[in-house]
Amino acid sequence: MELKTKISAEDGQQDLVITREFELPVELLFKAYIEPEIVAQWMGTKVLKLENKNHGGYQFETSDPKGNVVFKANGVIHEYIDNQRITRTFEMENSPFAVQLEFLEFESVRDTTSKLTMHIIYKSGDLRDQMLKLPFAQGINMAHNRLQEIVNKLKQ
């Protein structure tokens, strides 16, 4: 099935644009970005802080089933307009990746449909490409870990 999420990332550039249409009124789409409990559900992370206002900030933290923190991210909210726009930074803590700038635009398409445009700007083109490869790298690591588990079981 065709994915509803589109990504445009030109070669050699340091930005990319993610677009997606939702079968939701724009108010509900926007709510999914500002209610901490809802953000936690779809992002799959704990929301420690989320200040929806100009010059606000946010903090995410994810733990593995054993309680070890495996992911920490934070950012500042530069501009906030209800149901329209969030301009913010995003930075993964304890990682070699530099902070990135994100422009989130929320638009109403019809009464029951809305569109999100996420324009992300990275420090350099190389960093963008490395970030793009992260899910790919994680996929490989996960496959290796599973393989490792199987091998370990065989040896016992």
């Binding site: 070669d11 509900l28 999100l116 490409d129 793009l132 490869k133 370990n152």
Partner: protein
């Protein structure tokens, strides 16, 4: 098997995986650098239609034949171009399989966001304000 041997074997296996992992990432980065260059992209689109000799490829560009040769060499090293020997001439052709791999590397990222957004949509479709 003794516990000690077991441990050694395990770390060897891990090292092997890490090694193969690094290689994959290394190659992928080179491929991306290879297609980031506009001349090299033009070469890839020229030779996507039919195989060409370096001389014929170079005729399409203002750059020197040497410069084009260098680009062809880089593309060949990254397996974006494949070589076909025909008599004394070597013909170059875009490796469609490799090009697809390059296009695919953005796919896990897109899939990750699509999964998240699908979840968001489902949650919000069932959302009932409890105030």
């Amino acid at each position: 098997m003794s516990k000690k041997n077991n441990k050694i074997l395990r770390s060897q296996i891990t090292a092997l995986y890490l090694l193969s992992n690094n290689c994959t990432m290394e190659i992928r980065r080179d491929v991306f650098q290879a297609i980031a260059d506009p001349t090299r992209r033009a070469i890839l689109s020229l030779t996507a239609i039919h195989a060409m000799t370096p001389g014929v490829i170079a005729e399409n560009f203002d750059s020197s034949r040497q410069t084009i040769s260098k680009h062809i060499q880089i593309l060949t090293e990254c397996e974006l171009l494949s070589q076909q020997q025909n008599g004394r001439e070597i013909y170059y052709l875009t490796n469609a399989k490799k090009m697809k791999e390059v296009a695919d590397f953005i796919e896990p990222f897109r899939q990750m966001w699509d999964d998240r957004f699908n979840k968001l949509e489902t949650i919000m479709k069932n959302y009932k304000p409890n105030k």
